[in-house]
Structures are given as structure tokens and as C-alpha cells.
Amino acid sequence: MNIAFPAFFLLALVLTGFIFLNAFERRENTNLEKIPFSSASARALVSSGIIHLILLSIVHQFILPVDFSVSIKLITGAKLTDSDISGLQVDVVNIVFYFLSTYIVAYILGKFLQIAVLKFSPYKSSKFAFDTPWYYELKGKLSEEADAEIIKISCLVNSGECAYLYYGYLQDFYLDDSGQLDRLVLSDVYRRNIQDDEDLPIGKIAGDQQDQRFYQIKGDRLVLKYDKVVNLNIEYLYMYETPFEEGKTEEV
């Protein structure tokens, strides 16, 4: 028990940083920042250090004096005296309450910072943008000028001996652990066999003839695995109200 307690205490301290980072980098069950574990651990250590420094200062100054010597003994694994142990026993509720409070504060702080980053640095090209390009591409946050309303997806999917072109509006997308696209969810989907294009004479792909090549897929959502997609075309569509209604003239 004596050997394990410093490790447990350190874990409780560092957990604050991991909670903070998880709240900051996770959105809609997806990690926005893709960094190696070693780097994430270093960031968690620094974050927990800063959070504890701030919170301990507040607690020590305004709520309850903190015996830092016991904390240092716990971290370094130095032997505790009887008075140290009896002091810890008296304050065990306060210590538990402190750690629970830091976890809650770390979570709120992480979410608050995430909201601030997405609000004040919202585009892919922004200085503090997260390192997840697909997030910005498929959320339509490329630049201040691009304020599209919906994304039309056209993609070529190999299915056995045939290659199909799928057209539809992007509804949802899922990223894998490395930040790459995993699945696309489309709605209002049409499919056409690319072989049909070869059978048509050049210059005849127009009007009704073009429509006949499309097969409407019945259903609300079509899920496509990204590893089956050969080509992906992303088209941002803009929508706006008609400038003038019929029968009305512009007033000057």
C-alpha cells in the first residue's frame, strides 16, 4: 500500500490534465487533434500542472491552508510521519472534494476553450485551427468567404466488376483515430454505372438522356465506406433568396 500510494496520487494529479485535453479536443465523439500519445501525455502533464497551480493557490489563499510538504512527500515517495498521516486522515474528505472539483473544472475549462477556439479561430486556415482537415472541409469552414449551405458529394465506388458514381447530399461523416475519413453518410442518393457513359455517343449526354442514366436509391441514408471510394468530389452549394419576386420591381 505504501509503495502504490505515491503512484496513485500522481495519477490523480495528472488525470486533471487528461480530462482537460479530452474535453478540449473531443467533439461529437471525435478527436479533433491527432497527436501521438507521448505528446498528449506531455501536454496533459503541463495542463494539470497549470490547473493545480491555479486551483491550489485559490484554495490555499481563500479556503483552506494546504500543507505542501505532505504533497511533496507523497509525490517523491518520502516516508510520511505519524503526524502527516493523521493530518491526511482529518482532511481526507477535503482532499477527495478537491480532486473531484479539479476534474469538473478541467472539463469545463476544456470545453470553454474548445468553444473559444472554434468561435475565434473557426476556419481551416485559422492560426489556432485543429489539425483535422476533414473536419473543416466537411463542416464547410474553409474560409470567411465560403459560406455554403450544403455539400454535394460525387464519388466513384468500385463494386466488384462495376464502378458506380454516387451522387448525394452529405449528411454525416465519421473520422477514424488518425483523423482520416472512415465513412460518409449521404441522403437523396443517385447512382449510375460508369459503363453506361461509354455506350452513349459523344455529345449525346444531355437532357432526358442524362437523367435515364441515374438510378435513385430509395432510403433515407446511404453509408459509404471511404476505403471503397476511388475518387471523391466535394461540391459546396450556395442558397439564397431570389432577389426579386415575379411581378415585382425593385424600389430605388
Partner: protein
């Protein structure tokens, strides 16, 4: 994750007539824009290009 879906796009897709017209626009790759009319008569233009802002004449 939810993909891009603006306020107008949501409104159009929630309207049965609007959704049908928007659906038809998918296959019309030769068209740059189309007018979509909702059941309540409201009209929107769906375009592949960002609309140019109207310049004020001096």
C-alpha cells in the same frame, strides 16, 4: 459528425416540395443554378457559385 447544413438548406429539406426540387438538382450537373420553390411559395436559388454581392451605384 454532422456535416455542413445551413439554415436555408435545413428549411428546404424539411419542405417536401423543396426537398424534391433539391434532389432533382443533384442529377443536373450541366446546370449552374436552379430555383427551388417551397410549398409556402418561398423561392430560393441553389447555385454552385457564391452569389456576387450587389454593388451600390454611386
Amino acid at each position: 459528425m454532422k456535416a455542413l447544413m445551413g439554415k436555408i438548406a435545413k428549411e428546404v429539406r424539411q419542405d417536401s416540395k423543396g426537398r424534391e426540387e433539391l434532389r432533382a438538382f443533384i442529377t443536373e450537373s450541366n446546370k449552374d443554378s436552379a430555383t427551388i420553390t417551397l410549398k409556402n411559395g418561398k423561392k430560393y436559388i441553389v447555385s454552385r457559385h457564391k452569389p456576387k454581392t450587389r454593388e451600390v451605384a454611386a
